[in-house]
């Protein structure tokens, strides 16, 4: 029983073991890069957009509109960051319909790296929009007593981001493998459909939470960035 694709060694090159996580991560990156390059190859105003370019524009605009709804002060760089997170996670989750595919997000290493990227990005966005003092002041927001709890909260966010995605994707794969032994041919199909749904939902939630965390780091305390409290 393998819980993680980290343990699957595909090949060993000169003492360096290439495990399945790295391999499939690179495959996802190659797919995303190749598709983007191929679609935007002849991006000229006089060429009418074909169906591929329209698809890509729809995806990017949807992500942009989601960001605009959540974030009080939308940042162009936020689209690049959160959009990349979403596309990477959703691609690696949806490719599980390919036989033999091991989703890289079923490994705690991948999800921890993604969560770490969000943890590093939030202070960077915060400092770039509010200045170093303004960002550091957010840690002593109600009063100084809350400082350790704010710091703990920052780290627990990252841990929960990583473990949420890992647990969801890994549990889907594990339950499918168990049911394959119990009742083959029918139940795994149902569980795969459920896995596709949770894969998309978890990718969405990861990206949304990343946007929420970064927005809360960039907005000054007088204007709330919580989507529940915005006045429309």
């Amino acid at each position: 029983m393998e819980l993680t694709p980290d343990d699957t060694i595909v090949l060993t090159v000169g003492g360096f073991a290439l495990n399945a996580t790295i391999l499939f991560t690179w495959i996802v990156m190659a797919i995303l890069t190749a598709v983007s390059v191929l679609i935007t190859r002849n991006l000229r105003p006089d060429v009418p957009p074909d169906r591929w370019r329209t698809t890509l524009e729809a995806i990017v605009l949807t992500i942009q509109s989601q960001i605009d709804e959540i974030s009080a002060r939308p940042d162009r760089r936020l689209l690049y960051f959160a959009g990349t997170l979403f596309l990477f996670i959703v691609t690696s989750n949806l490719l599980m319909i390919v036989p033999g595919w091991r989703s890289p997000t079923a490994s705690l290493s991948t999800t921890a790296a993604l969560a770490l990227a969000v943890l590093v990005a939030a202070p960077l966005f915060g400092i770039s929009s509010r200045g170093l003092g303004g960002y550091l002041h957010s840690y002593v927001e109600p009063n100084v007593i809350m400082l350790p709890f704010n710091i703990i909260g920052e780290f627990s966010r990252g841990v929960s981001l990583a473990i949420r995605l890992y647990g969801n994707v890994m549990s889907g794969a594990v339950i499918a493998a168990i049911l394959l032994g119990v009742a083959p041919f029918f139940f795994p199909v149902v569980m795969d459909m459920l896995g596709l749904l949770t894969g998309v939902v978890q990718a969405y939630i990861f990206a949304i939470l990343a946007i929420v965390y970064i927005s809360s780091a960039t907005t000054p305390p007088d204007s709330s960035s919580l989507p529940a409290q915005e006045q429309t």
Binding site: I163, R164, S171
Partner: protein, 96 residues
């Protein structure tokens, strides 16, 4: 009972207990969250998009507690460090 049997029995029992308790709380919490969201959408249909997005994020937060319990149960069943250590020591004791 040997050490191996004790470790196996307690691990399996605890894994079941972990999943059952880890399903109880989040199920109640998600039910309440969904019920509140539904009644809010019934009162304010125009705010449905913002409400459902907040609901999804909240459900993810609640869901993660259930996932923690599930991950612990999976570790107990399939990647139990004590079980592996006991197996190794048993193998060494048998000269294997």
């Amino acid at each position: 009972m040997t050490d191996l049997a004790i470790i196996a029995a307690i691990s399996i029992f605890t894994a079941g207990l972990t999943v059952s308790f880890g399903a109880l709380g989040p199920a109640l919490g998600e039910g309440r969250a969904a019920a509140s969201a539904l009644s809010s959408i019934a009162q304010q249909p125009d705010a449905a998009s913002s409400l459902s997005r907040t609901l999804f994020v909240s459900l993810a937060m609640i869901e993660s507690t259930a996932i923690y319990c599930f991950v612990v149960a999976m570790i107990l069943l399939f990647a139990n460090p004590f079980w592996n250590a006991a197996l190794e020591s048993a193998g060494q004791g048998a000269g294997g």
